[in-house]
Amino acid sequence: MFDFTPAELTAIALSLKVATVAALASLPLGIATGWLLARKRFFGKALVDALVHLPLVLPPVVVGYVLLVALGNNGVIGSLLMQHFGIGFAFRWTGAALASAVMGFPLMVRTIRLSIEATDRRLEQAAATLGATPWRVFRSVTLPLAWPGIVAGAVLAFAKALGEFGATITFVSAIPGETQTISSAIYGLLQVPGGDAGIWRLALVAVGISLLALLASEWLVRRQRGETH
């Protein structure tokens, strides 16, 4: 049952790479946004919040379409990025990672925001009296206290990236070895009669990977809770 074709193996490896990069690369922005929404009041906050939720609310293909229009080689932003920085997403695995990151972003921000809101501000005050600058307070108190939410947010984004397909295929197509992830491979198999065996095999791989990610995240949370540093 687990004789994978080389194409499938390529898709699996690519999915791993894309999901890992999507989850980790969006984490700093996710933390910053979660913190902003948790702690600051500013004009247009509701709008920022809605913007963050956008990829959840729209059908994935629409999100992919928007990315294509904005960040394709001929897109408004995409052409600028290409010209000035030589950064291109179109038809590259980086584009797949970007699409997955965008789709997972609302999940990540929500959980991070929630844990930052739940941290005890009085501990941050105590840190400040002990001479910690706001930045050190954030790093040494807020972040560790919000750690379970940060890990959960990253795991959600990672899992979402594994399952993401609509935005990815619309934005960067499915190019074997470059942008064809497990999900787009499964989608392809769904289109032909009799592809079922392949579908379940690949689905099982995706589930296995996410199980490992979940176990790793539990461990990360428990380690910080149990141990000290």
Partner: protein
Amino acid sequence: ADAPLTVFAAASLKESMDEAALVFRRETGQQVRVSYAGSSALARQIERGAPADVFVSADVDWMDVLQSQGLIDAHTRSALLGNTLVLVAPKHSAAHAITLDQSADLLPLLGERGRIALALVDSVPAGRYAKAAFDSLGMWDDLRSRTAEAENVRAALLLVARGETPLGVVYGSDARAEPRVKVLGTFPEPAHPPIVYPVAKVKSSTHPQAAVFVRWLRTPQAMRIFRERGFSVR
């Protein structure tokens, strides 16, 4: 009959089927509601007892699957529409019309890094036709590594329309509806399996108008709607 007639139709038929449903209602008073999705999804749903009265597929294979399971009325089945397969480029591309035969070389048109947009070549019908055509014209080995495979043929069309890829292969009906692309050439019919959209009444349907609608789709009046959108009538 009061109950609306439920038609499951391949997503690529949306515009014409919407209009056909409208006209049919005007003529007969029978309301028609159409559920559009990929042919594969619709076929699987019919396998699972979906309340569809009529199925219009973009894919002969899936209709065959249903027929072999006795889920459609075989005697109502017919090849409703045909289509052509065309090579398109962005409207403002410098590429010229070419003849698609054994001697044609598309690589220069792709340039250094350009890709050719197709529907998924192993699964979505339009992609499978395109792959078959390139294969029989001896171009597939060159192009294999230069494809950008989209979820469906309209998504491939979009890539060309936005100039993301210098070339694409889509149906003639698609090319005609998209002003931002131009047709460089039409693939010769023999190069790929015939493009057929079969229609049939679903076996389990008890709607009295189901067979009527299937028959009506073949009337000249209905055919005009499809022809206007670039489908060929078979």
